[in-house]
Amino acid sequence: MDASQVIFILSAALIVASALMVVTTRNLIHAALWLISTLFGVAVLYALLEAGFLAVVQVVVYIGAIAIMFIFAVMLTRKELRDRGAQVNAAWPAAALLGVLTFGGLLVIFSKWDGLGRLPAEMAGTSDAMLSQLGIALTSPDLFVLPFEVASILLLAALIGSVYVAMNKK
């Protein structure tokens, strides 16, 4: 077992354990903090996959912006945080069964595929070269500039829409 496998197993344990805490803990502030821990584990995996830019974006955008927004939302709806009644609905055994069945179904699909033991491909260049490749891919008209622009318009529309929805209309 080499170092990367040890790192993978540690971060996978962190991800699964904190994801379970996110869906089961009663206190929503704690759930948001456990989500940060999950997101951090995923950032470690990106670094392990040699996608350094995505690891940084994961920390900056997900942990820095999205998780903080969740904490704001929990605090703005503080009264409900007092956990009136159960945190899970009555159908939770059926939902747990569905989750386990989905996982089992995915495992069956994986077992029928012969690429499971595949090892990492040769990197096409140094990490700096891959980063500029990513920038070119995002802005080149032959590649992904259209989805990139659509994503920016989506973000702008979401920004305006959320300001409008949350605005206090007297």
Binding site: F8, A31, M69, A95, L116, L159, G161
Partner: protein, 102 residues
């Protein structure tokens, strides 16, 4: 060297945990938290297939970046909807938001 299957199993587990959370949580903010778990599971898969496939094509990473943007948009709109509902009806419990239920 980590085989591809490890990433696939991990993201399948993360996706199913998120699915469970979306289905069982009563608090609308917690449902959005679980959706984030599912989006992260998808992203792990996208980046893993980029790394284990053809690394010269950046499609996997570009898709992951677009998932980031969509997740940010989803959180912004979702949380402002929850906040707006909370101001009018003083609840964020999904069961009690039955205005449009027939």
């Amino acid at each position: 060297m980590i085989p591809l299957s490890w990433y696939l199993f991990l993201s399948a587990a993360l996706f199913c945990i998120g699915l469970f959370g979306v289905l069982v949580r009563r608090n609308a903010v917690a449902i959005l938290l679980s959706v984030e778990l599912m989006l992260n599971a998808v992203n792990i898969n996208l980046v893993a297939f980029w790394r284990y496939g053809n690394t010269a094509s950046m499609a996997g990473q570009v898709f992951a970046i677009i998932v980031f943007a969509v997740a940010a948009a989803e959180v912004a709109v979702g949380l402002s909807l929850i906040y707006s509902v909370y101001r009018r009806r003083s609840t964020v419990i999904a069961d009690e938001l039955d205005l449009m239920k027939w």
